[in-house]
């Protein structure tokens, strides 16, 4: 279990370590706003402070442990001739990822902002359309059909089936 971690890119673990350290320090700084208390009467700041310290320490341990591997990986990368193919496929991957975030989360944001105003049906239609842009090669016809279908299905299940107090058309 804990022994087969050699396969993970040290760069990734280094980043993880940095994130854990940052979270730990952030938690400790925030916890300073809450009373620490004493051992017999621990205050609300005590436990978060301890947790923050532990996670920051673990983060630093991860950084130290992977620093050497990270340096080697970088040296290897610099030594190797730049490979335009790898670089461009990486760039495509990142763009895809950014696109998926933008539209999927954008669709959810649209839903959250509109559900209490324009009602369930329109909100779901908007959500499905926005979401569909997350994949390349979106086709309007099938997307619109899906949007209408999802709106009807949501109304059937959540409003009529379960009986949630959701407005179909808004106020």
């Amino acid at each position: 279990m804990s022994t087969n971690d050699q396969h993970i890119d040290p760069t990734l673990d280094l980043y993880s370590g940095a994130i854990f350290t940052a979270i730990g320090l952030g938690a400790m700084i925030t916890a300073r706003n809450y009373p620490l208390g004493s051992i017999d009467r621990m205050g609300p700041g005590f436990f978060p402070m301890v947790l923050g310290a532990i996670i920051a320490t673990l983060g630093i341990m991860l950084i130290v442990k992977n620093l050497e591997g990270f340096r080697q990986a970088r040296r290897r990368k610099h030594a190797a001739a730049p490979d335009p193919e790898v670089d461009s496929s990486r760039r495509v991957g990142m763009l895809r990822a950014a696109r998926s975030m933008l539209f999927v989360l954008g669709g959810m944001t649209f839903f959250a902002l509109t559900i209490e105003h324009i009602g369930l049906l329109l909100s779901v239609i908007g959500l499905v359309i926005i979401c569909s842009f997350a994949e390349t090669g979106m086709k309007w016809r099938s997307t619109l059909l899906l949007a209408l279908f999802m709106a009807a299905l949501s109304a059937a299940i959540f409003r009529y089936g379960i009986g949630l107090p959701l407005q179909l058309w808004g106020n």
């Binding site: 299905l153 059937a156 299940i157 009529y160 089936g161 009986g163 107090p165």
Partner: protein, 325 residues
């Protein structure tokens, strides 16, 4: 996914049917369904009392009730949304000691005023906080607890369903009035606090009646006193805490129906009339409330209810102010 539709559509008929209720058309109001906001989760004691009273009330009004459970932050989240709801009489809410007195005082900014932002309509029920101890303990009366605590200051532990909860404040009020010094051990909710008395981790608890009632009946807990003005009908042998020697002690959880501020006076009066009549005369409702550990009570008038809330806020304000020792 499409295969979901058929069975769901068939089964959808069940809740729909349950909403169909015989109608006895009133003058104008209400002409459509009424939303009742319950600021606690489904199945909790506020929910149970709210629905127990809501069902027959909806029968009387001839319109279905749509129950909306909006729990969170000791009921203050749902109550805030009730305070800003449309005041056309079609949104009502259940409020209690938690939401309209203690919660309002304990939380920094609940976003509503318990009286100014509401039209209180009427009380519906009241439940006592009950002083309970373990049956194997040496405490057989309220005075036993006080004596022991005074002889051994700081030695006893008392529990609560969380810091700033009504159970906490009822106990603090008791400690203050009986001049008792004990250590507060907070738990997450009534169930955990009750278990802690059963497991003898704490010495005493002012438990919410519905939470401790069954354990008292099974003699897993010993009830020493009830916080109401009069003895509870379900526990006729248990004295009130006041009778037991703590002068002026009163700790109850009352529940009532509220409308948002600015709701038409006629609607408020109509609702009050129906509720008061129902609580006073409908034996089935009274029975159902008692089965759930609640005593049916109603307010003589909406103003009466408002006065009660005001006095409750004042009573608790002092204790809340002293809470951060």
């Amino acid at each position: 996914m499409p295969m979901l539709i058929k069975p769901l559509a068939t089964l959808a008929a069940i809740p729909a049917l349950s909403m169909m209720i015989a109608t006895t058309a009133a003058a104008d109001y209400p002409e459509r369904e009424i939303r009742l906001i319950i600021p606690f989760g489904a199945g909790g004691s506020t929910d149970i009392v709210g629905r127990t009273a809501g069902q027959p009330l909806s029968d009387r009004l001839g319109q279905p009730f749509v129950y909306e459970n909006r729990g969170g932050a000791g009921g203050t989240v749902g109550t805030r949304s009730a305070s800003t709801a449309n005041n056309n009489g079609y949104t009502l809410s259940v409020g209690s000691t938690s939401t309209h007195a203690v919660g309002y005082l304990v939380h920094d900014d609940v976003g509503y005023h318990p009286i100014d932002d509401f039209e209180p309509i009427s009380l519906i029920a009241e439940t006592p906080y009950v002083l309970v101890v373990h049956p194997d303990s040496d405490f057989h009366s309220v005075q036993d607890v006080i004596d022991h605590a005074q002889e051994n200051p700081g030695d006893m532990n008392f529990g609560s369903a969380g810091a700033g909860s009504t159970t906490h404040l009822s106990a603090l009020m008791f400690n203050d009035m009986a001049d008792v010094d004990a250590v507060h051990i907070p738990y997450e909710g009534n169930a955990e606090a009750t278990t802690a008395v059963l497991g003898r981790e704490i010495d005493y608890l002012f438990g919410s009646f519905p939470a401790v009632y069954s354990a008292i009946q099974n003699e897993q807990l010993r009830a020493l006193g009830v916080g109401t003005e009069n003895r509870a009908s379900q526990l006729p042998d248990v004295p009130t805490v006041e009778e037991a020697g703590v002068d002026g002690y009163l700790a109850t959880l009352w529940l009532g129906i509220f409308a948002p501020a600015g709701t038409d006076d006629d609607i408020v009066a109509q609702l009050h009339g129906e509720i008061a009549d129902m609580i006073e005369n409908d034996e089935a409702v009274r029975e159902a409330l008692r089965d759930n550990g609640a005593e049916p009570v109603f307010s003589e008038s909406p103003d009466d209810f408002a006065t009660l809330i005001e006095s409750e806020i004042e009573r608790y304000r002092e204790i809340v102010d002293n809470i951060d020792e």
